[in-house]
């Protein structure tokens, strides 16, 4: 490289050719002084650079905000822009073009030689070129003089190379304005401005994706901004803080790179992407939204599974006492004979019951294994943690969706929306496309009709009467189903008392079958009833969903109430058995003492010890059975309702009087809302039962996995695209809101049982305590230093908690009223906008 050192002041030879050289200096994590860049503006102001012994002036040129065209060596710059370590830094000046070229300015940098000086730091800049020095030649301006300004500041690093670039002095007064930026000698405001400029560039880089520019422009902008940021970032730290600042900068970069890699990895992990895409192209976005929801649920359940499996089941299995060592972990002698039978196992009795799958197996020892793993504490915290995590995820998703959704379901843009937003861009299948065209046309014709005719309120009284009648019928349905379930549960209790072997299979599984059957047939009934009501399809869909919701909820709660009765029964039993056990133990001792030996240890096989009843395991078992039967019902309905129907329609069509495919029954459509509701309730049951049966999340993961494949296959094979698509609500938040409600309602019973009912004395990790949450108290006392529990006891003082709650209520009220006032302001502005016509 040729180095021209010139101290002459004026050279103006900005030619028409652009000459850009980018030199990226990477500030090392060391102190640098005197990074300068020349800022070129429209008005040329040229500063002569002069070198002095002690200090050199460096001119730094800052690229203007405008982007340059791709004359630069992009690749090279990109590479340089990435963090590489440099040993030296070089500064080069880039010449900028005349302002006649509208947006481009070239900067030229001058390379500077490093000089080491005792007093000040020298900074080396290293210039990296991707291409060889030949490129450098290219950069030379025609006829431009190159000057290299030497930097006379101390640099910390040793310099490896000096490269110099020819740069022409931008001595054109009109064209360029150079501003020397010398961090040491910058006034604070200039430093501030520089900092702002750098921040602005950084923001630009961040927001580049969302800009509506063509890709080329974006790439060019990106490169420029990155170079700018690179160049100046180091200059901003001042004095002693520079090291820290540069270190921070480097860490931020590394962090961003890590984040990006992590994002890449995460998207690579997302399963079933191609499957969903296929469904989308065949059925459109509303059907696919169900599968996306299913996939999201699967993700949540995986996390819940990870928690329960890793923190509850595995520690107990590995570090707890093995099977058969203590009474609660052993199958009682009476049941041993049948413990391995398939029927018993299918019912989750026998060996399945006395395993890590259920609550009753866990020992109440405070710390187990060589790790001193606090089992009861872990059990309790995992239970709380699953609920907390679910809340967090649902609310976070709702918040995210709330930003995107349109504001309300106005009808004020009916035709515009039909025109511009009705086509589903996901469709890739010709048949679906035809369907969509047809449905769009129909929708337009209907809208036109409605517009043209005035709607005569023919007989509003009849309509009203019919609607009231319909609602009454629905209420009767709901009450009837609730009573049926209650009745069946009580009956099954009676059966249990009689001994289960005396009854048929149906009678044994009555509860689950009844609940599943109700869930299958009642919605159809509601559908029929709703034809009385004569609502707009979207409104009718909302009513339908509401009723199904009420049905499921009613069933679930009736089930729980019946369960509560059973729990109370068991607790009564407990008292009796406790008494019996003391008698039994006493009798044991009496018999041994009577032998006149000095209290020999009485060894009884654990299987022979009389066992107390375990209501928690019973609750867990009930939930597991319920979920299994629910799953079975869903799959069987799917196979029969969809697959068998499709087969029949397809093959009987050859020999049937009327066209089965076009008329009744034809192929079924995929019922999005019904399926979504089913999924939501399934999840509600998991949340309810997970505390008492840690195996539930694992079961659910399995179930969702199978569901995904089965339903994907069924949809592609047996369903046809929907004729008319009505979404239940404008925003995705409708289903999220339902999920949140279910989450709340399903954690209520679990919380109630935890807080009020004392745990069984003979099973589970909390046996022997008065209340399950006593384990927290115990941990605080024994595992934490003394002052901790003192602090906690102060914090849980009602005198402190109540004002805190009051404060939060006030904060909520305040935020609510502010948001209301914003909404009103919004409406006002909208009105103003409309009136300015």
């Amino acid at each position: 490289h040729s180095i021209n050192v010139s101290f002459s002041t004026v050279e103006e030879n900005e030619d028409s050719t652009f000459h850009k050289e980018h030199e990226r200096e990477r500030p090392r994590g060391k102190r640098r002084n005197g990074e300068r860049e020349k800022k070129k503006r429209g008005n040329g102001r040229r500063k002569g650079a002069s070198k002095e012994a002690g200090e050199g002036e460096e001119e730094m040129q800052v690229r203007p905000e405008k982007r340059e065209r791709g004359k630069r060596r992009r690749a090279k710059n990109d590479q340089e822009a990435k963090g590489r370590e440099r040993d030296e830094e070089e500064q080069t000046k880039i010449k900028s073009a005349k302002t006649t070229k509208t947006r481009k300015k070239e900067k030229s940098r001058k390379t500077e030689e490093e000089e080491g000086e005792g007093e000040s730091e020298e900074r080396n800049t290293k210039r990296k070129k991707k291409h060889g020095s030949a490129k450098k030649e290219e950069k030379e301006e025609d006829g431009g003089k190159r000057t290299v300004k030497e930097k006379a500041q101390d640099v910390k690093k040793k310099k490896h190379k000096k490269t110099s670039e020819e740069s022409s002095e931008d001595n054109e007064e009109e064209d360029n304005e150079e501003k020397e930026v010398r961090p040491e000698s910058l006034s604070p405001e200039e430093l501030e401005k520089l900092k702002e400029a750098v921040d602005e560039r950084k923001k630009l880089i961040q927001g580049l994706r969302g800009k509506p520019w063509p890709m080329k422009k974006k790439l060019v902008t990106l490169r420029e901004s990155q170079e700018f940021v690179e160049k100046y970032e180091g200059a901003l730290g001042k004095g002693k803080g520079r090291k820290l600042y540069a270190y921070k900068v480097m860490m931020t970069k590394k962090w961003m790179k890590f984040q990006r890699d992590f994002e890449n990895f995460k998207t690579a992990c997302i399963p079933w992407e191609m499957k969903i895409k296929e469904i989308e192209s065949h059925f459109g976005s509303s059907v696919a939204s169900y599968f996306i929801f299913l996939r999201w649920m699967y993700g949540i359940n995986m996390i819940l599974f990870g928690l329960t499996f890793g923190l509850v089941m595995v520690p107990e299995a590995l570090m707890g006492r093995p099977y058969g060592s203590i009474p609660r972990k052993t199958v009682p002698r009476a049941e041993e004979a049948s413990a391995m039978d398939f029927a018993v196992l299918w019912d989750w009795g026998g060996y399945a019951q006395y395993s890590v799958l259920f609550y009753g197996y866990y020992n109440s020892q405070r710390a187990i294994g060589w790790l001193k793993f606090r089992m009861p504490l872990s059990y309790f915290l995992v239970g709380v943690g699953t609920v907390a995590y679910s809340y967090m995820v649902v609310i976070r998703t709702m918040a995210r969706n709330a930003n995107e959704s349109g504001v309300g379901d106005d009808n004020s843009f009916n035709f515009s929306w039909k025109m511009f937003t009705s086509w589903d861009y996901l469709i890739g299948n010709p048949e679906t496309a035809d369907n969509k065209f047809a449905s769009i046309t129909t929708s337009f014709k209907e809208a036109i009709l409605e517009e043209q005719e005035s709607r005569k309120d023919d007989n509003i009284h009849l309509t009203r009467f019919l609607r009231v009648l319909a609602n009454f019928l629905v209420l009767c349905c709901l009450a009837g189903s609730g009573y049926l379930i209650y009745f069946v549960v009580r009956r099954s209790q009676k059966f249990a008392l009689d001994g289960l072997e005396n009854h048929t299979w149906w009678e044994r599984n009555e509860v689950n079958m009844v609940m599943s059957l109700l869930g299958m047939f009642c919605p159809m009934l509601f559908d029929v009833i709703s034809t009385l009501e004569n609502y707009h399809p979207r409104v009718a869909l909302q009513w339908q969903l509401g009723r199904i919701f009420a049905l499921f909820l009613g069933n679930l709660y009736t089930f729980i109430i019946a369960l509560m009765d059973e729990i109370n029964l068991k607790r009564e039993e407990e008292k009796i058995i406790k008494f019996n056990i003391t008698m039994w133990e006493a009798s044991l001792y009496n018999s041994t003492v009577s032998e006149n030996s000095t209290a020999p240890p009485v060894t009884i096989h654990p299987a022979d010890v009389p066992r107390g009843p375990c209501w928690e395991t019973m609750v867990g078992q009930e939930f597991v059975r319920l979920i299994i039967s629910d799953t079975m019902t869903t799959y069987i309905t799917l196979l029969i309702g969809d697959f068998l129907r499709a087969v029949l329609v397809r093959f009987l069509n050859y020999c049937w009087c009327w066209d089965l495919e076009a008329g009744f029954p034809s192929y079924s459509e995929f019922d999005v809302s019904g399926n979504v509701l089913g999924l939501i309730f399934n999840q509600g049951m998991i949340w309810m039962g997970a505390f008492y049966a840690p195996c539930l999340p694992a079961l659910n993961v399995l179930r969702l996995h199978v569901s995904m494949y089965l339903q994907c296959w069924a949809v592609m094979c047996c369903n046809v695209p929907q004729e008319r698509v009505f979404k239940a609500s404008g925003s995705n938040n409708f289903y999220m809101a339902m999920l949140l409600v279910i989450l709340f309602l399903s954690t209520l019973p679990a919380i109630y049982t935890i807080v009020t009912i004392p745990p069984s004395f003979d099973c589970g990790p909390f046996s022997g305590k008065k209340r399950m949450f006593d384990v927290i108290h115990e941990t605080l006392e024994s595992d934490f230093p003394a002052w901790f529990s003192k602090v906690f006891s102060y914090a849980s003082n009602p005198g402190l908690v109540l004002p805190f709650i009051l404060l939060m209520v006030l904060a909520i009220y305040y935020l609510q009223s502010t948001s209301k006032s914003y909404k009103e302001a919004n409406v006002e502005l909208k009105k103003k906008l409309q009136t300015v016509k």
Partner: protein, 187 residues
């Protein structure tokens, strides 16, 4: 990912990731799809940024686009020359703007450009009529078409010039519940 791929340099991939909503893997996959359209035309090695454009007629054969009534307009909007010939940069840009994570504002801007057939920065009545005919495949009578277009202009036009400017369009679209989920192409 440790497979050696010589399609793009690391810097190019990083730059693409900064400028689009795609991840590294997706960008490579996109290049594969782009190449599929014209294997003899598109080179495998993109490290030196070859200036290749795939013509409109090939792009609209893609399964994601071929059933879309607006496919011609979409491709034209994203092409540099306005004729629908896409370079790889434009190709990536197109799918990035239409992808799921693309923000509403960006989609609105491009939707406006797509529906503006005569590219005068306004959606006038003729543009709407063309849109409507494409949507209904000509099934509506001319009177119905006129009626719908008039109603749409009446609903959305705020400044009273009988055509939709970008501000009118944006105001109308921002309240549409289906816009984001429908104006989305998955690749």
């Amino acid at each position: 990912m440790g497979n050696k791929q010589t399609t793009f340099t690391d810097e190019q991939l990083e730059a693409y990731q900064d400028c689009t909503f795609f991840t590294r893997k997706e960008i490579l996959r996109l290049h594969g799809r782009y190449r599929e359209l014209a294997p003899h035309l598109v080179p495998l090695d993109y490290t030196n940024n070859p200036d290749i454009k795939v013509p409109l007629t090939l792009i609209i054969t893609m399964p994601e686009l071929k059933e879309n009534p607006f496919r011609d307009r979409i491709v034209e909007t994203f092409s540099e020359d306005g004729q629908g010939n896409l370079s790889f940069n434009d190709f990536v840009d197109m799918f990035s703007a239409l992808c799921e994570t693309s923000p509403r504002e960006l989609k609105t801007i491009y939707a406006f450009k797509i529906y503006d057939f005569n590219r005068d920065n306004f959606i006038c009545k003729e543009d709407m009529e063309k849109t409507l005919n494409k949507l209904t495949k000509g099934e509506l009578t001319p009177e119905e078409v006129t009626l719908v277009c008039d109603k749409a202009i009446e609903e959305a036009d705020l400044d009273g010039d009988n055509k939709l400017s970008f501000a009118d369009f944006e105001n109308m679209i921002s309240k549409a519940p289906d816009f984001l989920s429908n104006f989305h192409i998955r690749i």
